[in-house]
Symmetry: C2
Subunit: 257 residues, 2 copies
DNA sequence: GCAATAGTGTCTGTAAGACAGTATATT
DNA sequence: AATATACTGTCTTACAGACACTATTGC
């Protein structure tokens, strides 16, 4: 592992692009909470969005997908490119050396090292069920954990702003693309999906109006089953109409919540 | 000039990022026509979108602005980042050498040259009045001219697709941001701006409904003057309410045309 | 008066948003 | 019966979209 790190430090540009990276805003949802996956390198007390270097043999989408999989162990999440950033993330020796030295105290990081260069970052966000994810650090044995969206810790660089840009995009996109397939059980109820939308948008949505609109889109199908939730009326179960769902992902739809 | 080219070929990475660039879709409008500015390097018969390398000392926005100014001589155009692209633009020796050799027949382009590398491109579009622009090639004495949006010539790489992505974004954005300040005379008429919107959206818009909606946004102000257009009724003149216009640019607005 | 363009008002349908009462499940 | 949650329908209002007539200007 230490060798691998050293190889990346010394010869990274053999494998990766030099001045371009992806930056991933991984949103997690579970029981009325929206969180975001952040990591903290060992040598610092500030947090970072997961950044991924782009391999010379892959597309930017693949880079985002690969680096998100490294953190979440999940494949095939819905990825959305939302914005690209310029000078937000530029390391300097002072910041990066202590982090790297915990791993490989011999590796020298001179000021021309590729890791200290100006990186353009292409931002992607994705959504997943955070209770299914064991956040996973890679390479650098950093902390990696979920943070509530309205309680973000102190961040390095301008990453707090990048999170808020991602969230802004998500809240707009939710009017144009269906969400939920990665966030809800296969069979779910209207109150569950209603709650999901309220959480993401961070405001109350009239349940009756919400249900009407959602059903009208044709992306969900009512089953002839109910869920038993104990001492209350049993809610109807629904599944996503996968074909319609995929069509709407591709073509978009118009809803206003 | 030849020296400058050679310096860029040999030592470009001293000045520019290695694997990141901006790509500019410059839309031009004039009298019911929407065009896009393309260039053709001297050694080829295919066309290209203007690509700009990013200086180490500038932001990506500044790179887009600078490279657009190089083509149009116009400063401070409204720039909109619409999408980033991965492997769309990768030169190879076979493609690039004949172009460069017209300029500097001595410069060798070995296969590891930075110009042949994998470039990520951050796409920006902008809008201008094309009759005011003398398209201007730089460095490589290519042809540089306006092409009608529905008559795009054969393009290198995947640039035709990038144009259509930009156009798609423009047509969506037009519902959320005002346009026109760079495209119309300072004092303009409702029929003029109506025409502009019809051209960009490529469909008919009911004049009465259009006028009502536009006026309601508060971005235009009716003057107590008319334009003399000869043997017809004189249309009222309007100006943009610059403060409102800027606010809507920043905050967005909701219109559906 | 004629030709060409500019400007204005009304109707209809749809959909968003507000709102309250009934139904179901368990204890 | 009591409690907690799920489900459903109507009214109002706003706006999009369709549509036709009047006004001005120069000839």
């Amino acid at each position: 592992m230490a060798i691998e790190i050293r190889e990346i430090i010394l010869n990274g540009p053999n494998y990766f692009l030099r001045n371009a990276s992806v930056i991933n805003v991984i949103f997690g949802y579970h029981e009325k909470l929206l969180k975001v996956l952040l990591q903290r390198p060992d040598g610092t007390d500030k947090w970072l969005l997961p950044i991924g270097y782009i391999k010379r043999i892959e597309t930017i989408e693949e880079a985002a997908s690969r680096t998100i999989e490294a953190r979440t162990k999940l494949k095939n999440l819905y990825l959305k490119q939302f914005k690209s950033f310029g000078k937000q993330t530029i390391w300097n020796e002072h910041l990066l050396s202590p982090i790297l030295n915990r791993w490989d105290s011999d590796s020298k990081l001179d000021s021309t090292n590729w890791l200290l260069d100006y990186f353009v970052s292409i931002g992607y966000y994705t959504l997943t069920e955070f209770s299914k994810v064991e956040p996973s650090g890679e390479y650098l044995n950093e902390e990696c954990k979920w943070w509530k969206i309205n309680n973000i810790p102190e961040m390095m660089f301008d990453h707090r702003n990048i999170i808020s840009e991602a969230l802004k995009s998500l809240r707009i996109d939710i009017n144009h693309f269906p969400i939920g397939i990665e966030l809800l059980p296969q069979k779910f109820t209207l109150p569950e999906i209603h709650c999901l939308y309220e959480t993401i948008l961070d405001r109350k949505l009239d349940y009756r109006n919400f249900s009407k609109k959602l059903i009208k889109t044709g992306i969900i199908i009512k089953l002839d089953e109910k869920r038993n939730i104990g001492a209350h009326r049993s809610p109807d179960l629904y599944i996503f109409n996968k074909e319609n769902y995929q069509n709407k992902l591709d073509e978009g739809l118009v809803m206003t919540f």
